[in-house]
Symmetry: C2
Subunit: 199 residues, 2 copies
């Protein structure tokens, strides 16, 4: 039994479905919102409703957009000759946050996975091939995770793009910034050794 | 710089103000919502808007209500002769969750605190004294935290209710269920020893 009304219980159940929030922390978050009804709860409701109504997938790259194409694809200052292929919008945001990449993106929406029966058609791989064929590209950068599925996907895409003749590269693997060797796994150290460069 | 639009950045900033979510986890939560726009984001926006519009403080006990009085105060099955005094709505929910208390509540809205300049008038203590004076009560149970401020508040209320002649009790202090002595602090063990009972 609970002291909260049905509406509030329903709200807690919805909040508990967010990543990082469990039933207890969702309850705590809702209580916090209830205490700040005018300052936080109502503005949050508005922001969510507005975003739910306007957000959509960019028809070019798959990023979150509010119109037909996303801010990045619509930006004339971006180098359209370079496409960075990422698994997910979260990865796009992480890459964008560095400010190191000035090209455009292609969001796959996941990785190939035999286990989960996710093939190229489930991802936006055919779109990528079409894009590479249609546009004059200098480079496709594969910024996929160094997991088995990520690397399988990278190999599949590299294969699929061979015919187009575009340069396909992938992010360097090695010791992360601030990384200490004795805390790193063998795979990372081996990869960093193989990819060693002149100092 | 970020790849998200202004609307989404504003939404992330609002989410980051929830307890238990920081900037990174708020971003992750918003991405999750963006992926589930119809199934989760829109219903959550609705639930928040509805709750923000209808939720209010119960005029009797201070619990969250959707009408003039809360579900508990409106329930004819509750023993109105027993009032359980709690600091916060969260504490009321915790107490209610046990199902062990069949009386009604009084939510103070915090504890007395010299440091934060919170006196009896800032809390709902005068309301409590009025309630105890006006209604025929058998018992006032102080279910306040065993912090310095919580205990100060308990003492203050017990003092303020002396004239009314009502029985004022407080929750027992002792070893929590499943508690092991060597993990407990000295204060808890001493309190449990002082309050020992015949086996």
């Amino acid at each position: 039994m609970s002291a909260a009304t049905q509406d509030i219980e329903a709200l807690i159940a919805l909040m508990a479905r967010l990543p990082g929030l469990g039933p207890r922390s969702a309850r705590r978050a809702v209580l916090h919102l209830l205490r700040k009804r005018d300052l936080l709860m109502a503005p949050l409701a508005d922001a969510l409703a507005r975003t739910a109504a306007t957000a959509r997938d960019c028809t070019i790259c798959g990023n979150i957009a509010t119109g037909e194409v996303c801010d990045i694809c619509a930006d004339p200052g971006r180098a359209t000759g370079e496409i960075c292929v990422v698994e997910d919008v979260a990865d796009l945001w992480a890459m964008e946050h560095t400010g190191a990449f000035k090209g455009v993106y292609h969001v796959l929406g996941g990785t190939l996975s035999a286990l989960d029966a996710i093939g190229p058609e489930e991802l936006r791989i055919p779109d990528l091939v079409t894009r590479v064929t249609d546009e004059a590209l200098s480079e496709v950068i594969l910024a996929l995770g160094t997991t088995v599925d990520g690397q399988t996907t990278a190999h599949y895409i590299a294969e699929a793009l061979t015919a187009s003749g575009v340069a396909v590269t992938s992010l360097a693997q090695g010791v992360p910034m601030g990384g200490e060797l004795d805390y790193l796994d063998d795979g990372t150290i081996s990869a960093a050794l193989r990819a060693r460069r002149r100092f």
